[in-house]
């Protein structure tokens, strides 16, 4: 059991640096959101900002790749994403087809060029 939990100090750090910083924003959204009308202009803006922040995180992973993804050359990462987008559009917006095509492109490219 003690091996499963590890040391209690690490769990306290998880609560203070992991759980609370996330939950604060969720609960703030709960307080603000209760008074907001679904079709309101503020909500259109909020959705735009949330979408753009997610797009930024996506760009960040591609431009400054973490860990093992950094072993894939820049051009191959970008080409794989373009291949995925092309398959997505060609299949009338199938997410699965796009993801599979992008992955296959990256794996084939990495295998081909080493």
């Amino acid at each position: 059991m003690s091996e499963f939990v590890g040391d209690w100090h690490a769990l306290l750090v998880l609560l203070l640096a992991g759980f609370l910083p996330n939950e604060v924003w969720r609960v703030m959204g709960l307080w603000l959101g209760a008074g907001i009308d679904e079709g309101s202009e503020l909500l259109v803006w909020v959705r735009s900002v949330a979408t753009a922040i997610l797009a930024g995180v996506i760009a960040q992973i591609l431009v400054q790749p973490p860990g093992a993804l950094a072993s894939v050359p820049d051009w191959l990462r970008y080409a794989a994403v373009f291949a995925g987008c092309a398959a997505f559009l060609a299949t009338r917006r199938s997410t699965l087809a796009g993801v599979l095509c992008g992955e296959l492109f990256m794996l084939t490219g990495k295998w081909w060029f080493g």
Partner: protein
């Protein structure tokens, strides 16, 4: 998978409504992506010398992939508690607009805030995207139960993946790990594109992608926020200007 019709009597049974929510995790490729992402998070936790219990607790309590990766890698590389907390907080601000945009479509006129606490905890990118897609097919009075089911379903998948990734960590080859990491941008990009309903959504996505690499050259430490808020605001301004025409 198709949900029952809006006026179907099966919705009246809360167990069935919860089960439909839970079962809905099988209807999206994002579940596969989450599974793969959390395999990676489990592996990362193992390699950073956290316990299996800690890794599982981080999935259940933090419940946000990017925040977990930031937390594990900052703490693992010896950052202080304060530094890790600030980095995680910055990555978590994006949850606020998600909660604000999901909750109005979940609640009914009589809903109290306390009924929404668990729904609020479950909200992260995937649940947000899936709620936009699925909630219009769910009768309004049963959306909280349905969302609880959806959240429990997604979290179960992620807990299994975290545990599995933790166990597989020692044997994960580099190519496989790179493929897992590439799944995240691909799937989130395409599923967001699929859910674009109006011009402002498309513009926010495209501008957000384009602005981040430019803003990141400034090395502000809050690049994601600067690029996201400006791209989102420009997209909204274009939408507002076109509505006025």
């Amino acid at each position: 998978m198709a949900l029952p019709a809006l006026d179907s009597p099966t919705w009246q049974n809360p167990v069935r409504a919860f089960a439909w929510g839970m079962w809905s995790v099988t209807s999206t490729v994002l579940t596969l992506v989450l599974f793969a992402t959390y395999l990676g998070i489990g592996a990362l936790a193992h390699d950073s010398h956290f316990s299996l219990g800690w890794a599982l607790a981080s999935t259940g309590l933090v419940w946000a992939g990017p925040a977990q990766i930031i937390l594990i890698s900052t703490l693992g590389s010896g950052a202080t508690l304060l530094q890790a907390a600030v980095a995680v907080t910055l990555s978590a601000i994006r949850l606020l607009p998600m909660v604000v945009s999901v909750l109005p479509s979940v609640r009914s006129p009589g809903t109290k805030r306390r009924h929404l606490i668990l729904v609020t905890h479950f909200i992260a990118v995937t649940l947000w995207v899936e709620c936009v897609r699925l909630l219009p097919q769910v009768p309004r009075g049963h959306r909280i139960t349905f969302t609880h089911g959806l959240g429990c379903g997604l979290m179960s998948v992620c807990l299994v993946a975290t545990g599995l990734g933790y166990g597989l960590a020692a044997r994960l080859p580099q190519l496989f790990a790179a493929a897992i990491l590439l799944l995240t941008p691909l799937a989130f990009l395409l599923s967001t594109a699929r859910n674009c309903r109006q011009l402002s959504d498309v513009l926010a996505l495209v501008l957000g992608l384009a602005l981040f690499p430019l803003v990141s050259m400034l090395h502000t430490g809050v690049d994601i926020l600067i690029s996201g808020v400006s791209a989102g605001t420009i997209a909204y301004a274009v939408h507002w200007w076109r509505d006025r025409q």
